[in-house]
Symmetry: C2
Subunit: 191 residues, 2 copies
């Protein structure tokens, strides 16, 4: 059944990736065995090789998907009236909705192969450039390097949410958004 195949096949893969992301986030890439991932989706170990070439391939697909989603989302907000505010809201939402992915992306880039790492890095760079653009549009006197460093700092700020998660989604989003804005606005005074 072509319909069933087109939807069911990928669904299985995504189910596996979701489970793997959760496990990777809590135990680290090397701390998770192939059997653990299998067990998490109700099948046993080697069956995963029907869906992925290798364990590395899972991580690779996971990380490229994340960087693609971030860039696509950012790209989409580029033309908004207040791009910076939109980018912040977008990133905050992503971090709150996908804490595991945030953690995995932060920690496991090094475990990718050279070529995959390059691909992910390139996409991340593009995403950062969207932020640099938005920051410099908002605080014009900001230098490019400063804006880039500031963007990374704001990522760190927002991406901290998987480690705290104290306030419930709504108030957490408000807090992070306000703090991110406050941090960036401080660039105006400094220089």
């Amino acid at each position: 059944m072509t319909l069933a195949e087109d939807t069911a096949r990928p669904a299985r893969r995504e189910q596996i990736l979701d489970a793997a992301a959760g496990l990777f986030a809590t135990h680290g890439y090397h701390g998770v065995g192939i059997d653990d991932i299998g067990a998490a989706v109700g099948i046993s170990g080697p069956a995963l090789y029907r869906h992925f070439r290798s364990k590395d391939a899972m991580l690779s697909e996971m990380l490229t998907a994340i960087s693609d989603r971030l860039w696509a989302g950012g790209q989409q907000r580029r033309a908004a009236e207040d791009p910076l505010r939109e980018l912040i809201a977008f990133h905050v939402d992503f971090a709150l909705d996908n804490p595991a992915l945030i953690v995995v992306q932060e920690r496991n880039l090094a475990h990718l192969t050279e070529s995959d790492r390059k691909r992910v890095r390139a996409q991340q760079r593009r995403y950062v450039e969207l932020w640099v653009e938005a920051i410099r549009a908002t605080i014009p006197e900001t230098g490019e390097l400063t804006a880039r460093a500031a963007a990374h700092a704001v990522f760190g700020l927002i991406n901290s949410t998987p480690h705290s998660r104290l306030l419930g989604r709504g108030r957490m989003a408000e807090l992070l958004t306000a703090m991110a804005l406050g941090a960036i606005e401080s660039l105006a005074a400094g220089d």
Copy 2:
């Protein structure tokens, strides 16, 4: 020679821990072999067991040392005139001077044994409490949970420096300090 022993023995251990920290930070705990660590200090593999009970023990000692240093440093600034500013400066300095330690601490808590992890967590909590205190003294209308979440967010902001490192130590310190302050000051407006 007692003098030589008192200084040389620990020096070796610290040399090993330094090397291990750097390796762990770049390749991840499981990505580094005992032989790699040995090679990094000019001895070969199993010789490390003259200095540490196990590879886990190295990580354990590393992480407890970090949390102890942070808490001690924070504690020392508690009575300052402007504790928040002092805490920020302290943490920024620590992060800029010890990027590898920051990364290792962020990523490898999960690889500790139950008891070691508890010890580190407890010390981290105490450190956070210093920040909560300082934040609420500066922005009195801040709730405790909000302050805690804000503290974590600022850690994320400052701890981002190992991943960017674009501006050179002095300007980086300025930037992070300003952004951290700006982020915290935004708490006043929000509530």
